[in-house]
Point group: C2
Chain length 568, copies 2
């Protein structure tokens, strides 16, 4: 049951659903036309299918290990990294001036997704590098960019993000790591960081850590945090890895899944680092990296969902149990068919949302218009949370399709669910994403939200001629979502927004998903895409109403229960 | 963060919500009054908290092993089994004539749940014995009952269920195991069985297998299947374990969770067995065992959900991140509070449904009335599917409450989710449960379903005086469910029922849950139970409408997509 990267799904979505034509109509991305994108995705897909997919199970069975302080990655992962970096997939969206391909995020998002479906634990390595490349490109000095970017983009070196400390998880501002000026323009970094994905490896010649720490005059909280670049080996005068820096991997976590990806506890003991961005301006630089990574993590969820869907489909088409008028395999049974179609419809919706977010990022870059920046910022938490929730739910359904075999590790169905489970947590839990959506991303009074709703309704109006029932259902749901949005932005007590943030985000994703399914049906009337759209709109979209009722329930009902009674 | 068995929740539910007063008003269960039940649950709870809970993690870290064909259970499990059997908890509901306590299933269900929350992998052992005790009590000859029941009930011996074969999972009728008469009243059983939970152990002196097999004149399909009792050691003339039977454990499965419970591949090579029930009557006997086990498995899901809830609560009350007006721990944050209350409200609903099902079983036994039998049969698939779905969802939410720590195995949050995952699959997948509900259990034209709806509405009417809004919401939801039920029973093409079976079952559970929450609010007005009921009815009940829309969508939309397009 080999994994096949779903290249045609991406090209269909880009060309007909998420407005990629606007991206390649810009001067910035003029070279990334439809044919070029198809060729690129095909090439990336081949690498995913042939090189990465066979490593998925290997990483689970032979986790990364720490031997006397030296990290040993899973067998074959070094070759996998080599294929990824030689293909240019680490630096896909990197600036061509530093060796990148300068491709739109829409394309990068698709490739990242394909890599995630093939082997999530290895894909996390280039994803971390991409976040670092993005952060350095926006915030680092020219000297740092000239030295680091070419090597990060080529994959000769790799990058990591060091945010979390034991007492500072979702509350980044509580961090205690310190940075003291060395007097030569560098800083001495001291502290412990946890949950550092790919904090070390045995296949790049250097590992570059972006570390959040506080300068001596940094105020408490997030406003006193600065960002530092701290390499494992300090570059010598030729820019080659020199003496070992004062940092080490203390231990690796024993996790539920993602065994091929080492999750490190890092200790910095006066390690030499260089400031990225202004003093005390670390949060802004970190958000550049985080926003990039959040969309990337959303793509991880979707990629794993695709992998789990293909895996379950292959099993269901082969396995025979009982009889049905509709065929010999269990895929002929109505309930198994329901599960498979749910998985497929959900992957489509989540993928379209992620690509639409990427398109907004590309349009922002190409046009500089604030609207696109705000649209991208609004869609990012939705893409992250809905993409990763989809990963968890679809992989869970994949286990169910397998019946008893789903619980047996040998089949690989369980690994998808175990691996993807962390994605709803890292880069900001999905609760944090939802809070970001209803607070920071709607401080504009919901302007971007309403503009999206207008766009959905305008499209539904246009669909009425050919897809009357589907269009009406989407239009009605959007009106209900509009009412919910109006209620939400009217709440001045943030706890009332937060109480319903998660169901609100999910309702928004449900309606966006219906919108994109409708566009797919309009693009290919009478096709299987229309059948899938009808399935989604008839059976899955109705959930939005209950979610919005929940979203508008306020916080009083939560705090009416005191903690002692909750624990009683 | 030690596990505490929720004894007061059970006594509250039994005394005020699920009608247990009718059970102990019968002659059969006259001795099991409220005070006696509380004493029994307290005693069982102590054993769960002190003996079983410490074994939960041990079983995960030190799985059962097979050494040269000999099964080695996890360290401490032998002592755990000893405590369970010496407490009388294996044979709680067993006939006192054979050494059982003769307790109602309502009490047994509560104890089974508590044991599941403490250590699921060990609890599966007595649960399997209970199913066998039930099957033998109903279907075996007096000779078999006299020989086996006392030893099974005392826990000296244990029991297993052998249904599945590689090609015969959900489709039991496809099994190939053979039984040939030996001419002395015994039979020679030959075949391979898979997924045999606790197929062997090192703490009972015999292991008794109930094996489905086909006699030489058995027709193909389920009508040609017979049930046999096949002990590991053949009892000698004194009823003590004698020569080893011709059966063996071939291998153990490597599973996603439940590592403390050995899942065996069993090989029977002309093993000696005895018929239980009539020739070719194996399915009826199996269903006795299965129905018992289905409610038991529902209880496993609920027990694990309770364990995961307590575990997440303890973490949330201790962990500090960020600030809130409502307290210092993360439990003060609205979104964490939402998760914890969702978990608690869902556990209550699932628990009430399981206990109501057990009450119906007890009333059937005590009164012999067909109504109670049908009610129990109707509630069993709901209790199984909703209880185990709750186990999966609540344990998954428990991981989320832990944030990054949820993905680290050390905390134990992930183990709940890994262990419980199989419960939606074994003893009939939840899809099979839903199909059973909408087909076999509604062949009466929905008589029992409508009677339940009448009961819910009558209670809501009664609640209008004190709980106007809650009562109205429950009443309205019941009307919507009534319409959905009417639609369902009107469908003559079973695929149209099956297409919406899972959402229908879930909608029914949602409304039943609301009914029981309302009863709790009525029993203790103004209490935290009312706060929880309001949370559930305001925020979780609304889901029923979307589920019912889905349930009534029919099969045409599923089969409009052909398999090639699904796999494309």
């Amino acid at each position: 049951m080999p994994y096949r990267s779903p290249v045609t799904d991406y090209t269909f979505l880009l060309n007909h659903v998420v407005g990629y034509d606007s991206v390649c109509a810009t001067e910035t991305f003029a070279e990334a036309g439809a044919d070029m994108v198809e060729a690129i995705l095909t090439e990336a897909g081949r690498m995913c299918d042939e090189v990465m997919a066979p490593l998925q199970r290997v990483g689970d069975l032979h986790p990364a290990r720490l031997e006397n302080g030296v990290l040993r990655s899973s067998p074959g992962f070094a070759d996998g990294w080599k294929a990824i970096s030689e293909g240019g997939w680490v630096g896909m969206s990197g600036d061509p001036a530093y060796g990148g391909m300068g491709l739109p995020m829409a394309v990068t998002t698709a490739v990242n997704e394909m890599m995630s479906g093939a082997c999530l634990s290895l894909q996390l390595a280039p994803l971390m590098s991409q976040g670092q490349i993005e952060a350095l490109a926006h915030h680092a000095s020219d000297a740092i960019k000239d030295l680091y970017l070419p090597k990060l983009i080529s994959g000769e070196w790799s990058g990591t993000m060091n945010l979390t400390e034991p007492q500072a998880g979702s509350d980044v501002g509580a961090l205690r790591s310190k940075a003291e000026p060395n007097g030569d323009g560098s800083y001495a970094i001291t502290g412990q960081k946890i949950y550092i994905s790919w904090g070390d490896n045995d296949f790049t010649t250097n590992v570059c850590h972006l570390v959040l720490a506080r300068l001596p005059d940094g105020v408490p909280g997030t406003k006193g945090i600065s960002l530092f670049l701290v390499p494992k080996y300090i570059p010598d005068e030729n820019g080659e890895p020199g003496r070992a820096n004062d940092l080490k991997v203390v231990s690796l976590e024993h996790k539920m899944g993602l065994h091929g990806s080492p999750t490190c506890v890092m200790q910095y003991e006066g390690a030499t680092g260089w400031l990225v961005g202004p003093e005390h301006g670390g949060m802004a630089a970190m958000f550049t990296m985080m926003n990039n990574a959040r969309l990337g993590v959303g793509g991880q969820g979707i990629g794993v969902a695709e992998g789990a869907l293909q895996h379950a489909l292959a099993y269901a088409l082969e396995r025979r149990q009982g009889t049905s008028l509709h065929g010999y395999s269990i895929a002929a049974h109505a309930d198994v068919r329901r599960m498979l179609m749910t998985m497929k419809a959900e992957v489509f919706a989540a993928r379209a949302i992620a690509l639409a977010c990427a398109v907004a990022i590309d349009m922002e870059k190409a046009t500089g218009e604030e609207y696109w920046a705000k649209r991208a910022a609004f869609l990012t938490p939705i893409a992250k949370a809905f993409g990763t929730d989809t990963g968890v739910e679809v992989s869970n359904m994949g286990i169910q399709v397998h019946g008893g075999m789903g619980f047996i590790e040998e089949t690989g169905a369980a690994q998808y669910a175990r691996d993807v489970r962390v994605t709803t947590i890292y880069e900001g839990t999905n609760g944090i994403q939802a809070m970001d959506l209803v607070a920071r991303k709607m401080m504009d009074g919901g302007e971007i939200a309403f503009r999206l709703l207008d766009e959905i309704e305008a499209n539904a109006e246009q669909a009425r001629g050919t897809h009357k029932e589907l269009a009406e259902a989407v239009w009605q749901a959007t009106e209900t979502l509009r009412e919910g949005t109006e209620w939400l932005v009217a709440q001045t007590d943030m706890d009332d927004r937060f109480a319903g943030a998660v169901p609100f985000l999910r309702a928004f994703a449900r309606v966006l998903g219906a919108h994109f399914h409708l566009k797919a049906a309009m693009a290919e009337p009478g096709s299987p895409r229309e059948t899938l759209a009808r399935f989604y709109i008839d059976r899955m979209l109705p959930e939005h109403a209950a979610l919005l009722t929940h979203a508008q329930s306020g916080s009083a009902g939560l705090y009416a229960m005191n903690l002692d009674d909750l624990a009683a």
